[in-house]
């Protein structure tokens, strides 16, 4: 789905092209209420995809920008998180020379665009319309190669952030201190402290203390990149408090220790209950999703290879020797719930399943409310025919 973006040019009436064109040009109207591009019945929405944008205002998909110096690792991050590329394959990636725009709304639950930038962009190039780009941006991820001298990167960060802020004060600025797999633990902390300090000093010197930067230590060789991306994405979900609340209710009534709502494709967690997240727990959940999808790809497709590995009946139970049970269940086409349960609580699986049934229904209602809004604003009868996110009402029967 990735497209290379040049300068916006008038296109003829092709549906998809038209949307893109509207998006680019129409961004000038961002915030001025619905424009013509809204009228396009996004197929993703029919599938129960949750938009990040507030349903009552505009419908433009927020974008996440990946910026940073050449070879800092931007394309690698995008490929590893969204295309399941294995980290060692990124060695063969070629340098990006145009902005690559990718829509992630149809492959996964999360609905946004990722724009992967070339390392060297020139803010003074008149053909580079950065104002237009920043105006529709939800998050700007700036990637710094921690294994390299980062002084130039810091200067670039400062320039980029200040430019972007002038255009759009609502952007979340996320700094990935990247490739930390090459650093010792002490060195990591020291690097983060140093970068944090210098970046904020630069902003203070420019009188821009009000710009908030968030920092993350990341590497494509472990789960840190998925965790960082999860946090970036969560900030863009207006429904987050609702989801968290539902998770809290669910776990406290079911004797569950911890629960994550995962986007299965990207392994980003969309939400979790309000108990603290322990990195290792999160990693194990990611690995569980991999195992479940991989095994389902082998045995869970039809004879002719049709069907999907992840479907309505997808479930998994993994037992560890320390009385922990990992329990995964399908929530929507794109989402899975992964829970940590003590063995003794798992004995009441009937209760858990009943509560899960209620939880699932509530999640589907969150969608439906949104979809009703969409429906009333969009092409009504087209959506009416589709069952979309109708909850599958039958709870699993227990022995």
């Amino acid at each position: 789905m990735s497209q290379v973006l040049g300068k916006p040019q008038p296109q003829d009436e092709d549906d998809e092209e038209e949307e893109e064109e509207d998006e680019l040009v129409g961004l000038a109207d961002y915030g001025d209420g619905p424009d013509s591009s809204d009228a396009d019945p996004d197929s993703g929405t029919e599938e129960g995809v949750l938009d990040f944008s507030d349903p009552f205002s505009t419908e433009v998909k927020p974008r996440i920008l990946l910026m940073g110096l050449r070879r800092s690792g931007k394309s690698s991050i995008q490929k590893v998180v969204f295309h399941k590329m294995s980290p060692n394959e990124t060695l063969f990636l070629e340098s990006t020379n145009k902005i690559c725009r990718e829509d992630v709304s149809n492959s996964s639950f999360v609905n946004f665009q990722i724009w992967d930038f070339p390392g060297q962009i020139d803010f003074f190039d008149p053909t580079f319309d950065y104002e237009m780009i920043f105006r529709g941006t939800g998050a700007l991820i700036f990637v710094i190669d921690s294994q390299d001298d980062y002084m130039e990167a810091l200067a670039r960060l400062h320039l980029t952030v200040t430019r972007a802020y002038k255009v759009n004060t609502d952007i979340n600025f996320e700094v990935f201190i990247h490739k930390v797999d090459g650093l010792s633990d002490d060195h990591k902390i020291e690097t983060q402290r140093d970068i944090h300090q210098r970046a904020n000093d630069d902003l203070a010197d420019a009188g821009l203390e009000k710009i908030h930067l968030s920092f993350y230590l990341t590497s494509i060789y472990d789960h840190s990149i998925f965790e960082a991306f999860s946090k970036v994405v969560q900030k863009l979900i207006p429904q987050l408090p609702t989801l968290e609340n539902l998770l809290n209710i669910f776990i406290s009534n079911s004797g569950i220790e911890k629960a994550f709502l995962f986007d299965v494709v990207s392994k980003i967690y969309i939400a979790t209950d309000s108990t603290p997240v322990d990195m290792q727990t999160y990693e194990l959940c990611c690995d569980m999703i991999d195992v479940v999808i991989d095994i389902s790809c082998i045995y869970g497709l039809k004879e002719d290879g049709a069907g999907t590995p992840y479907d309505k009946e997808s479930t998994a139970i993994i037992k560890l020797n320390n009385t922990t049970v990992l329990y995964l269940k399908e929530v929507t086409k794109f989402l899975a719930l992964v829970c940590f349960v003590r063995e003794e609580s798992f004995e009441r699986k009937g209760l858990i399943d009943y509560n899960f049934h209620c939880f699932r229904k509530a999640i589907h209602e969150v969608f439906e409310v949104r979809m009703k809004v969409v429906k009333s604003r969009k092409v009504q009868n087209r959506l009416q025919k589709k069952k979309g996110a109708t909850p599958n009402g039958t709870p699993r029967v227990l022995l």
Partner: protein, 313 residues
Amino acid sequence: MPNTAMKKKVLLMGKSGSGKTSMRSIIFANYIARDTQRLGATIDVEHSHVRFLGNLVLNLWDCGGQDTFMENYFTSQRDNIFRNVEVLIYVFDVESRELEKDMHYYQSCLEAILQNSPDAKIFCLVHKMDLVQEDQRDLIFKEREEDLRRLSRPLECACFRTSIWDETLYKAWSSIVYQLIPNVQQLEMNLRNFAQIIEADEVLLFERATFLVISHYQCKEQRDVHRFEKISNIIKQFKLSCSKLAASFQSMEVRNSNFAAFIDIFTSNTYVMVVMSDPSIPSAATLINIRNARKHFEKLERVDGPKHSLLMR
């Protein structure tokens, strides 16, 4: 050969840097691929004893491949190295620039084997295939395989393409250890009975520590011919993830609308995987069947067990 049934000598040879220590560390010592980048060259021979299936001990000789060591193996250490070899695994770096020399050493090795252990089984691994462009892999491997077969005569060799970065390594090593398991036919027959009784589509038996597939029975055609090594790789990776939490993995059940798979501890040396596609059979029934079969397979393993386990420790 009454006594060799339990201790089996396996030689790992090949030029320095070809990946011998890497592969044995991944298969037998729970390394992940990335960890092997820190390995140094092996000095002389590193011996390790790997207990496999309880009553079988693999005596791995990881022979450092630098020239000076190699020369020694063929001269002063010749008898010591090449005597009583059950399996020779020769590892070739597919990207090696010194093909001639690699082949020369390989042939010297075969000569010594022919003299000292003429019954040894020979495996050639064309390794680091990940470094070859994907569309070239079949072709290059075919070429190498032909060359190796020809050069090995009158001995037979089995060739595998491998890489530590994917499941091919498991395929090669499963085939290797399969050659070494003493009562493998009996095991297979019992596995078949078990699969038929419980109406499974497929049953796999894994060695518990390595997760190599040591036996399988298939009742229904499956699409993916590489599935055994893939499953080994998938489960082994997951097992390593669990160990980061100081936990170990015991059992798993995965299903969707087309299948249900159960992986569980089986005997004290094995894990079993049962794949079902009949949705009318409840999980609990399959789990009970697995539990009941356990005792039976446990006995099977012990048939020629006691005298060996005495010898072992």
